[in-house]
Amino acid sequence: MDELDRALINTLQGGFPICEQPYAEVAARVGSDEAAVIAHIDSLLQRGLLSRFGPMYHAEQMGGALSLAAMQIPPDDYERVATVVNRQPEVAHNYERNHRLNMWFVLATETPEGQREAIARIEAEAGHPVYNMPKIREYFVELKLQV
């Protein structure tokens, strides 16, 4: 990573402008030029140092539902259940974690009913209960990873 890469990661975690030439405005902030800013963002995305660049939409505000759910799966059944969970289109992320509740996944559905249906389907196909943990409240976090 060069200096411009670092400056872009540090300044672009929010507040990208909505205007005619937003990359030129960002370039002015970081002391570079428009073409270099565009090329560097492209390269950061290509190299996987940024996982996304653009507007972050708020699923619940759009009528959708997001939830975090967990399951407790015995080791000898783990791979089968992982296959069951992963093949559900509503499951966006799924992680193995070092806890008695050892499978944690994010469910993204267009409606709250869709979330209930997905959970019922996973419980039926997996044969293990799902602990659904939709957020009750989200506490504001600043986005501030400095590199």
Binding site: L12, Y23, F53, V85, Y95, R137, V141
Partner: protein, 166 residues
């Protein structure tokens, strides 16, 4: 509660803008013009509608999401806490403001198996670094936290972009 009234805040054009941008913003000198040209609407209208969605909180923010893992933050700990219900909002807000916490949520307990109701995601280069940061949270919560744990991801089983039907 009524059906989500926010749905009515979005019309067909908003939804087309959402679909055109949820994978990312075009890397062109005039990105909002590029979207406008794709959709056959005026650039000024795209900018106006995106600003409105930002003001309404439908767009949380516009910017970059760093890939913590690729940037060297390989130990990502989900710290979880059993916080007294009457103090969780005040304390949750303070935990969220710590500069190393990237997500902070109150979630339901599932007693007796899962007593934790506050989740704070902490990124570190090593588990020791995550544990050090967790101790800062522990000090902040004090006696209001009756138990805690740190869960690390040991394997990614599935990771796809979050796509919301619009």
């Amino acid at each position: 509660m009524n059906a989500p009234k926010e749905l009515k805040l979005l019309d067909e054009t908003d939804r087309r803008i959402i679909q055109a941008t949820q994978a990312g913003l075009p890397l062109t000198a005039r990105p909002y013009h590029t979207i406008a040209a794709q959709l056959g609407v005026e650039a000024a209208e795209v900018m106006h509608r995106m600003q409105r969605m930002l003001d309404l909180g439908i767009i949380r923010r516009i910017g970059a999401v760093p890939n913590h893992y690729a940037l060297g933050y390989r130990a990502n700990g989900m710290t979880v806490w059993d916080v007294a219900d009457d103090q969780i909002d005040e304390l949750g807000a303070r935990v969220g403001r710590l500069d190393f916490v990237t997500h902070c949520y109150q979630r339901p307990r599932h007693l007796p198996d899962w007593p934790y109701n506050l989740f704070a995601m902490v990124h570190g280069r090593t588990r020791e670094e995550v544990e050090e940061k967790a101790r800062v949270i522990a000090v902040l919560l004090g006696a209001a936290s009756r138990g805690d744990d740190i869960l690390y991801s040991t394997r990614i089983l599935k990771k796809t972009g979050l796509r919301i039907g619009a």
